[in-house]
């Protein structure tokens, strides 16, 4: 261990209040493990939004369908990176797939992830884009046309029957995909919720709360990207679509808030042995990130903004401004939610007699810079994907 790292732990010892077990001074699941549920949450949320179009036939949301799928893919590709970087023996990562422990939630997640990536998302994207890929394979210039031929898996049939099959396939995949998306992110909540040793984590509600906040963040992210994309392309925004998606966002935030409030009230009333130290935790260590960022900035204010935008018939520009502000605040709030769960759960001793501190590194493999790069990476990947795979159906953009 580098002398520097040991110094860090020595500093942390001075910030301990009360009594802690000696091994607890090191915070094991750090910033990278906060980034990971945030990213997988965006995947689940974006996919649920996309499925609204196909399964529930919400036509107004159609303009964001392809964008949602590509967003989900971009974030899904980045999702395993924080986990890989966090392992202290990353060169052995393959063991989790070759010789997994079937009783371990973490091991089984590897297979849930693989299923969702290959059996749901890639398959749905391929069926959605197949026709356009075949057309582009003919019309694009070298070498792009080769890329499109490979992406289309060398298929050439774009007759009406083939396209009807594509639509049917998408329907089936989306129906399977919705519970799969629930499983993908619910599993992350389960990994925390099943740790009976940690009363901040160990709760039956944890997978559900994680999932709802994921849906909130995913929908908010698609709104954000849709607004940015149409602005960059200097196109008029489809206000009916935007209004519809933000109303879904509103319902999702209401449900998410209700679940978190329920969790809080339940804990307080149930009053287990840990309630005193958890109270100290949220007032001393998590005050800023929980009360100010997660609840006030991340939930109450966006909720107020959305209610205001719906109730008062504001003009288009004002609505766009309000929505944009709301979705950014929501992203901050959901990131703070993940922080409060992951870091918060490690700031109190399992003896329930003391509190520790977390010192975030700036540089280093688990530092702030690494986290910011990982958070920016999906946007870079999305830009490449949008270049390659048009967000509008080719026949639509031809006629518009």
């Amino acid at each position: 261990m580098t002398p520097h790292a040991t110094d860090g732990l020595g500093e942390l010892l001075e910030q301990v209040t009360g009594f802690i077990f000696p091994n607890e001074i090191e915070i094991h699941w750090s910033l990278l493990i906060v980034v990971y549920p945030y990213v997988t949450g965006l995947v689940a949320g974006a996919f649920i939004l996309a499925s609204l179009v196909k399964v529930f036939a919400i036509k107004e949301v159609q303009p964001t369908y392809r964008l949602s799928l590509l967003t989900a893919l971009a974030f899904l590709l980045v999702a395993p990176l924080p986990l890989l970087l966090h392992l202290s023996q990353p060169q052995r990562f393959y063991e989790i797939l070759l010789t997994p422990n079937p009783s371990s939630a973490m091991a089984m997640f590897g297979f849930v992830y693989a299923w969702y990536l290959m059996g749901v998302l890639l398959l749905e994207i391929w069926f959605e884009y197949r026709r356009d890929l075949v057309v582009l394979a003919r019309s694009a210039r070298v070498p792009l046309n080769w890329i499109y031929r490979v992406l289309s898996l060398f298929s050439k049939d774009i007759t009406a029957e083939a396209l009807a099959f594509d639509r049917k396939a998408i329907q089936v995949i989306t129906i399977i995909g919705i519970p799969s998306a629930f499983l993908l992110h619910g599993y992350v909540g389960f990994i925390f919720g099943s740790v009976k040793a940690n009363p901040w984590w160990g709760s039956v509600l944890m997978p559900i709360v994680f999932l709802m906040s994921a849906i909130v963040s995913g929908i908010a992210m698609v709104i954000f990207l849709y607004m940015v994309l149409t602005a960059l392309r200097r196109e008029p925004i489809d206000m009916a679509c935007l209004d519809k998606i933000t109303s879904y966002l509103f319902y999702a935030v209401i449900v998410d808030f209700s679940l978190e409030a329920l969790d809080f009230i339940h804990r307080l009333y149930q009053s287990e042995e840990s309630v005193k130290i958890l109270g100290k935790l949220i007032t001393h260590k998590l005050f800023l990130s929980l009360f100010v960022i997660q609840i006030l900035l991340g939930m109450f204010i966006p909720l107020g903004i959305l209610v205001l935008a719906k109730a008062r018939g504001f003009n288009e520009d004002l609505r766009k401004l309000l929505y944009f502000t709301a979705v950014i605040l929501i992203q901050l709030g959901i990131f703070a939610t993940r922080w409060n769960v992951v870091i918060g759960g490690q700031l109190f001793s399992k003896s329930f007699r003391g509190l520790m501190a977390y010192k975030m590194e700036i540089m280093g493999i688990e530092g702030l810079v690494a986290a910011l790069v990982l958070l920016a990476l999906p946007f870079v990947i999305l830009a490449v994907l949008i270049r390659l795979l048009p967000t509008k159906r080719l026949e639509e953009s031809a006629t518009s």
């Binding site: 261990m1 790292a5 040991t6 732990l9 020595g10 010892l13 009594f19 802690i20 077990f21 000696p22 091994n23 607890e24 001074i25 090191e26 094991h28 699941w29 986990l83 966090h86 392992l87 202290s88 023996q89 990353p90 052995r92 990562f93 063991e95 989790i96 010789t99 997994p100 422990n101 009783s103 371990s104 939630a105 973490m106 091991a107 590897g110 990994i191 740790v195 009976k196 040793a197 940690n198 490690q346 001793s349 399992k350 003896s351 007699r353």
Partner: protein, 202 residues
């Protein structure tokens, strides 16, 4: 000339025969002192600690660190000793006396109802949550009841460290794998006592 030939004939016979006879003799000698292989199925281990006898000398914790190459720094412990002080107003104060020399807090003896030392270590649970959550089976329970970690398999995900209710695990800074009390399995299979067996007979 013929003497040389006779000598060579003898040698061709002698050397292989000597080799065979020596190895036969060695085998026979080995049979006379039989090595009994250790059979884990014949044992089930436990450890008892009499709190009332512990004097908080901390020799067990020090011995453990020396025997098992645990880093000296006060952030990594396979075992440590806590002191509980119960005062008349019902307050319970806990300190870790294995952290090193402590400034003695002056306590009014009339206020102290009871005080005792509790050595803490991995409890080698019968239904270990750490074994349940390890994604790669790096940590497992042996047939004779010890919960140990295969540091060649551990990927360092730290799920086991989070799952332990007793804070018994840590990440070893040199091997970068999860580490904890192993019940001195390397000693116990040779019929020896764990390194941390109480010097004061506690």
């Amino acid at each position: 000339m013929t003497e040389r030939r006779e000598f060579l004939k003898g040698a061709i016979f002698f050397f292989p025969a000597a080799g065979i006879l020596t190895s036969l003799a060695r085998e026979a000698a080995a049979k006379d002192t039989p090595q009994k292989a250790y059979n884990p199925a014949d044992h089930l281990y436990g450890m008892g600690i009499e709190i009332d006898k512990c004097i908080g000398c901390n020799r067990c914790a020090v011995a453990c660190k020396v025997e098992n190459d645990v880093p000296d720094e006060p952030f990594y412990f396979r075992t440590w000793v806590e002191r509980y002080t119960i005062t008349r107003d019902g307050d319970v104060a806990v300190e870790n006396i294995s952290l090193g020399p402590r400034k003695d807090t002056v306590q009014d003896a009339r206020e102290v109802v009871r005080t005792f030392f509790v050595p803490k270590l991995c409890n080698h649970c019968a239904n270990p949550p750490c074994v349940q959550v390890c994604p790669v089976n790096a940590t497992f329970t042996t047939q004779d009841g010890a919960v140990i970690v295969d540091s060649k398999r551990c990927i360092g995900c730290r799920y086991c460290i989070q799952a332990c209710p007793y804070g018994a695990r840590y990440l070893h800074p040199k091997t970068k794998t999860a580490d904890k009390c192993t019940f001195c399995y390397h000693r116990v299979v040779k019929g020896l006592q764990p390194a941390g067996s109480c010097a004061s007979r506690g």
